[in-house]
């Protein structure tokens, strides 16, 4: 009997370990030979722990499961039965390209990885020369999924053209944005896809070493990735002849140390070098002078993990999904105060409202939704009136927001928008690297200015707007430069909350 109980940390946070133990104990007591696989999460976090049992070759789901359900799950008559998992609406409506294997396979089984299409992208890439691989990635339209949306192919081409005997592939796995967990889920659920993506990138640009800079807040992901790298090394996917005779490529997992700003690529590179995570001025681009001053590809987890499926199925297949210049799929992460939270991979173009109301089912508290923060702590608060905005890079830009890493944090009508604006400034002050003045000082002044608004000082609001302009135009990186997005979007869309205090005081 084959049973799956996710080992994903969100599932563990909801009691998956206890459920797995109860199932194992129950199976032992009944003398059933059960093989319990700790898979990744299917992404339906509201159903976690989601146990799956194979019945006549079909995986049936039970969730959210508690340890007391173990007996009934093994008998097949548990009240939390969901039927075949693949037939659930949430699963059927998705286009799972990057996440095709997450939740399906044993994350650390290379055999299962290969049986589900793994490594065929790398094999195809290795039969082509680097320039042809880059052309393929460019043709797919893949853009940086970390938030900036920069075309991946152009970045690779720059590194390819850069002179240098030693080049690097650095994976940015410092997923610090609230409301995002796609990187974590992928690394915990399908680590080989990231390794394969990095190997393809290394072959394309001529790199010999890769680093995964993984945040310390993700101990499970660090463990799984570390083990996956060892397995890949044993199998020769990494190592001295990984990319062909004498063409070595290896990967090292590096643990971050709790600094949000290290998700910014130049700060990440400094951190990797063993320095303070201070932002570097650009130029020079990391593509030309990155890690140790050498040509470096810095890509997000999802960008790199999407490369294998592009190479496997071809650029045209991938580019066939999406909207305008936002090609392929977006991995929506629906979070916060929402009834059905989780990860949903779909072609770009779905509207924000569909994602929140239709997929997410509205707020968890049952109260009206008030705002959705899209794209992490540096993303704008979108009011319900903007729910018709399609999820695409340009579409969100035009609406005064950013899609970022595609995290959607839902708030109900009890949210204190002035408080959230203040928090954005406070967070920026705590996490600022300190290099540039608009961010380091501006964020502190921002907190003070919002406090003055709360206290009813009528001169403070124009000052806040002015400060935000300065931060936006004068900051070196997105931390100081984008903190005005949540702040000013809260002011713009919820002016009453910034005005009432003033009028009350007058």
């Amino acid at each position: 009997m084959r049973i799956w109980v996710p080992g994903d940390s969100a599932a563990r946070a909801l009691g998956a370990d206890e459920v797995a133990e109860a199932l194992a104990a129950e199976a032992r007591a009944r003398g059933i030979e059960a093989r319990i696989v700790r898979n990744g999460s299917r992404g339906m976090i509201w159903l976690e722990p989601l146990v799956e049992v194979e019945i006549d070759g079909v995986r049936h789901g039970y969730g959210p499961a508690v340890p007391a359900d173990a007996a009934a799950i093994l008998s097949g008559d548990a009240p939390c039965a969901l039927g075949p998992v693949e037939a659930l609406g949430w699963m059927r409506r998705q286009t799972r390209l990057t996440f095709a294997r997450v939740g399906v396979i044993d994350p650390l089984s290379l055999a299962e990885y290969e049986a589900h299409g793994g490594l065929s992208g790398l094999r195809r890439a290795l039969a082509m020369d680097g320039a042809a691989v880059i052309d393929e990635v460019s043709a797919s339209g893949l853009r940086g999924r970390g938030g900036a949306g920069f075309p991946t192919g152009i970045k690779w081409k720059t590194v390819y053209d850069a002179p240098g005997a030693r080049k690097y592939i650095v994976c940015n796995a410092d997923e610090g944005d609230s409301g995002t967990f796609a990187d974590r889920m992928l690394m915990e659920g399908d680590p080989f896809s990231l390794i394969e993506g990095m190997a393809i990138a290394a072959h394309a640009v001529g790199a010999s070493k890769g680093y995964v800079y993984l945040r310390s807040e993700y101990p499970d992901a660090i463990r799984v990735m570390g083990r996956a790298v060892e397995i890949a090394r044993e199998a020769g996917i990494l190592g001295a002849d990984a990319l062909g005779p004498g063409r070595g490529f290896d990967i090292e997992i590096r643990k971050g140390a709790g600094a949000y700003v290290c998700g910014e690529e130049t700060s990440l590179l400094n951190s990797l070098e063993g320095k303070r995570g201070i932002v570097r001025a650009k130029p020079p681009l990391p593509a030309l002078e990155g890690f140790m001053g050498r040509p470096t590809v810095v890509n997000n987890v999802i960008s790199l993990a999407t490369v294998p499926v592009i190479m496997e199925k071809g650029a045209a297949h991938y580019a066939g999904f999406g909207l305008g210049r936002s090609k392929g799929t977006v991995t929506l992460q629906i979070a916060g105060n929402v009834k059905r939270g989780g990860l949903f991979e779909t072609a770009f173009g779905m509207t924000l409202g569909e994602a929140v109301n239709d997929l997410g089912g509205g707020s968890a508290t049952g109260r009206p939704v008030k705002a959705v923060q899209v794209g992490g702590p540096l993303g704008a608060y979108m009011p319900v009136s903007m729910f018709d905005t399609p999820l695409g890079y340009e579409e969100f830009d035009a609406a005064g927001g950013l899609i970022g890493h595609a995290g959607l944090v839902v708030f109900d009508d009890t949210a204190d928008m002035l408080g959230m604006a203040r928090f954005a400034m406070e967070f920026c002050a705590i996490e600022s690297c300190g290099k540039c003045t608009p961010c380091r000082i501006g964020a502190v002044r921002g907190v003070e200015t919002i406090d003055r608004i709360r206290e009813g000082d009528p001169s403070a609001l124009p000052l806040l707007a002015d400060l935000c302009e300065t931060m936006k135009d004068g900051s070196l990186c997105a931390l100081g430069g984008f903190t005005p997005f949540p702040v000013m979007s809260a002011v713009r869309h919820f002016p009453d909350e910034f005005a009432t205090a003033k009028e009350a005081a007058e």
Binding site: S9, A10, R12, A13, L14, I45, W46, E48, E175, G176, D177, S178, G179, T180, F181, D183, R184, M185, K209, S216, E217, Y218, P219, D220, E252, R254, K255, A257, G258, A259, Y260, E273, G274, K275, R276, G277, F291, M292, Q333, I334, A335, G336, N337, G341, G342, L343, A364, Q373, P377, G407, V409, V410, F411, D412, M420, F423, F427, I430, E431, C433
Partner: protein
């Protein structure tokens, strides 16, 4: 469960440093390894690190103090991280954290008098779809409410 923080001998410190010297950019791995071994970055490790990496004491101090993770003194026997980020706030995380801190009579980063637990703020654990979230040592906990926080604190020995 974190083991009680042992103190490291000069030889042990040297061994930890030298184990990482072949890495490119070895400083963060060295600091993590030292902290794993004894719960903080011991003062006695500073001079050998500076010697081995050819950096100044000021540079090293800059790095240690830049990152939230590195400690100059050991934490309590357990570390409870409570998420302060937006998704958790949307589910009442701020009030929950206040309650927990008030119950212990601590501020953020404080350690209980019996040394059982240190409470730290964290900005996202990637558990945003089951907010509010916390982490006791390395164990993730989702949909935290007052009862669950009380249970975690009791488990930690407060």
């Amino acid at each position: 469960m974190q083991p009680p923080a042992p103190s490291l001998s000069a030889d042990e410190i040297r061994a930890i440093i030298h184990r990482h010297l072949a890495l490119e950019g070895p400083l963060l791995p060295i600091l993590h390894a030292l902290q794993e071994a004894c719960g903080h970055i011991p003062e006695a490790a500073r001079a050998p690190i500076c010697d081995a990496l050819n950096i100044t004491r000021a540079e090293l101090h800059g790095v240690i103090t830049f990152y939230h993770d590195f400690r100059e003194a050991p934490a309590g026997r357990h570390v409870l991280k409570i998420c302060r980020a937006e998704a958790c706030q949307a589910m009442g995380g701020a009030a929950l954290a206040e309650t927990a801190l008030a119950r212990l009579g601590l501020g953020w980063h404080g350690t209980t008098a019996n040394g059982a637990v240190t409470v730290e703020p964290v900005y996202c654990l990637g558990l945003c779809a089951c907010a509010p979230a916390a982490m006791l040592d390395e164990r993730p906990v989702g949909r935290v409410d007052r009862a669950r926080i009380d249970a975690l604190l009791a488990e930690a020995g407060t």
